[in-house]
């Protein structure tokens, strides 16, 4: 038995253990479930450490002292690498009730920074560019494209109206919202179909593994 075969067999047995949940919840499934939580946590830990924390925090701080060739974050000095490292460590104060509040200092920078970062690009990508894409010429109704554009504009306005909560949905507003919900439901239908395809693909993938990679019948 070579390592590949052992590996594939292990993977196949674990696959079957997970599928046993279809019959009912059982110890094999629970075993696989807990094993994967542990293994993936360990995997992430190692990947985070060796890909990020070691080269950007640990090494620059320790290596430079022996005059080594540290890789610097955006060309900043080594003490600049210390600051984020210290802030990162502060986050762990939360595990010590007495000084837990200190972790909020780092958390404040983190939460605020990421919030601020998103604002303008989100406005650009999700609002402005969608307005640009949505304001289509609808005057050429003698062409197919003209009608398509009209549908796109009406569908967009209808959807926006449906999610408008400051006025009762009556009259024109109610009509637009009704049109909106029709578009929303057809859109959800498309999502539904695609989601089915997605889940089925995963099943096919696992069956391909069992039959093709493990048993080699196909």
């Amino acid at each position: 038995m070579n390592m590949t075969l052992i590996g594939t067999t292990l993977a196949a047995l674990l696959t079957i253990a997970v599928y046993s949940f279809l019959y009912k919840d059982n110890p094999f499934y629970k075993f696989a479930e807990h094993l994967v939580v542990g293994v993936s946590a360990g995997y992430y830990l190692v990947i985070y450490y060796y890909n990020f924390i070691d080269p950007t925090v640990v090494s620059p701080v320790f290596r430079l002292r022996i005059g080594g060739d540290a890789i610097l974050l955006g060309g900043v000095d080594w003490w600049m690498a210390l600051i984020p490292g210290l802030l990162g460590l502060i986050l762990y104060a939360r595990f010590f009730p007495k000084i837990g509040w200190v972790s909020r200092w780092a958390l404040g920078i983190y939460v605020g920074g990421y919030s601020g970062l998103g604002i303008a690009p989100v406005m650009q990508a999700r609002v402005l560019d969608q307005i640009r894409g949505g304001a289509l010429p609808v005057h050429a109704l003698h062409t197919g494209q003209g009608w398509t554009n009209l549908l796109l504009v009406v569908g967009l306005l209808g959807t926006l109206t449906y999610f408008f909560f400051s006025l009762k949905h009556k009259g024109v507003l109610g009509g637009l919202a009704r049109i909106g919900i029709v578009f929303i439901m057809v859109g959800f239908g498309a999502s539904f179909g695609y989601t089915v395809m997605s889940r089925v693909s995963l099943l096919i993938g696992r069956m391909n593994f069992l039959l093709h990679d493990w048993l080699r019948i196909v």
């Binding site: 939580v37 650009q124 402005l128 307005i131 304001a135 289509l136 909560f165 989601t195």
Partner: protein, 399 residues
């Protein structure tokens, strides 16, 4: 006075960005074109100007020109264009780029900000060069404001002003109108129905963490549901997938029972932590549905793939089901398997409607009126395009 100058130049550049003067290339002074026997025709209309990019460090100058008459057509085929840069008008300078035929623009990167440069562009046919077209001086400037992004700034500020304004109005106690979400009626009917049948109500607040805004919205609605259940003296079962959510749900339900005047009916055993693992949680909740037969199942909060399992088992036990989540990919399953579904933002609207909390109302009303602005801009865009006014499109084309 000093502050005036930058402000003035800012507004001029804003105007220029919004309505660029037409035909800039055409009114540029043409370089002298001398046709030699074997050299290709020179390029015309060479322009050099500061490049406004997305991350302006003043180190780029943008060039544009009209192709040589011998590029593609004409007697002599142009093989390449050569671009020279110098710091004096009469110098040849250094070759900064050779470009393929058909190229009529170039961005020269790596210039020093604030230094004046002169450019020469020649068409080359493999043996001879055309007379050079010249342009300059051009200076790469470090800008304090990126004018192409003005629309983003204007709309963001307008939106934020509305959110803050509505939040303050709500905090001062002004009654801000939010229409009642039909889904809330469905929730109340479902609880009533369970009471009639003498069976419990099941409320699943999703599997999100406590800091997920969907979970927070769900706990607001849970408080409302718990009050009704307490009044009707109907048991309320709340399974959770996060221990922190469980403690929060305990507080909410206990308080609601007290407010409804039935603190003794509160049963802590009905607020349960089942499992953090997605499928184990789904399996355990399905078990509750099969064993305890709740007549009303309410799924409100952050749901992922487990939505399908809940909705199916609930449908099988013939419970009335009301669902609501902002995780759009799960909505199709809820819509087809539940009696009523709160779609996306309706979940937040329902919680703002019930709690009347200023921060929720402010965000909701601000977004609402921003949607009105959005609709107006789209309609204006459609009308203006129909009337043949192209400026509109340019305004939004900020890239």
């Amino acid at each position: 006075m000093r502050a005036l100058l930058p402000a003035l130049s800012l507004s001029v550049s804003v105007l220029l960005a919004l309505f660029p003067p037409a035909g800039r290339a055409a009114d540029a002074p043409l370089s002298e074109v001398v046709r030699e026997t074997a050299a290709p025709a020179a390029v015309t209309g060479l322009q050099a100007r500061d490049y406004l990019d997305n991350n302006d460090r003043g180190d780029k100058i943008e060039l544009s020109w009209c192709l040589s008459a011998d590029d593609g057509a004409g007697a002599l085929s142009v093989l390449e264009y050569r671009v020279w840069r110098s710091q004096a008008p009469d110098e040849q300078g250094e070759l900064v780029a050779t470009l393929e035929p058909g190229t009529a623009a170039h961005v020269d990167t790596g210039v020093t900000p604030g230094v004046a440069y002169y450019y020469r562009v020649e068409a080359f046919d493999g043996a001879l060069s055309s007379p050079a077209a010249t342009a300059g001086p051009a200076v790469g400037r470090i800008n304090l404001f990126q004018t192409s992004r003005l629309p983003v700034l204007v709309l963001s500020l307008a939106f934020f002003a509305m959110v803050i304004w509505f939040t303050r109005l709500a905090a001062r106690g002004t009654n801000l109108f939010v229409r009642r979400i039909p889904g809330l009626n469905a929730v109340e009917e479902a609880v009533g129905r369970a009471t009639e049948m003498g069976r419990p109500v099941l409320y699943v607040p999703g599997i999100g963490e406590i800091d997920d805004i969907q979970t927070i919205a769900s706990l607001t609605i849970l408080s409302h549901v718990a009050k009704i259940a307490a009044e009707y003296e109907t048991p309320l079962i709340v399974p959770t997938a996060r221990s922190v959510v469980m403690s929060a749900a305990e507080e909410v339900v206990k308080e609601a029972y007290a407010e409804a005047g039935h603190p003794d009916n509160y049963n802590p055993d009905n607020i349960r932590y089942l499992s953090d693992a997605q499928f184990a949680f789904a399996g355990a909740v399905s078990g509750i549905m099969m064993r305890e037969r709740p007549a009303a199942n309410l799924y409100l909060g952050a749901f992922w793939a487990e939505s399908l399992l809940f909705a199916e088992t609930g449908f099988e036990t013939k419970a009335i089901q009301v669902a609501g989540t902002a995780n759009v990919s799960q909505l199709p399953f809820f819509v087809t398997a539940c009696d009523y579904t709160l779609l996306g933002e309706e979940l937040y609207a329902a919680s703002a409607y019930l709690s009347r909390e200023p921060k929720l109302l402010g965000g909701l009303k601000g977004s609402d009126w921003m949607k009105v602005i959005t609709i107006c801009i789209i309609v204006a865009g459609v009308v203006l395009t129909a009337l043949g006014v192209p400026q509109f499109g340019r305004w939004f084309f900020t890239q």
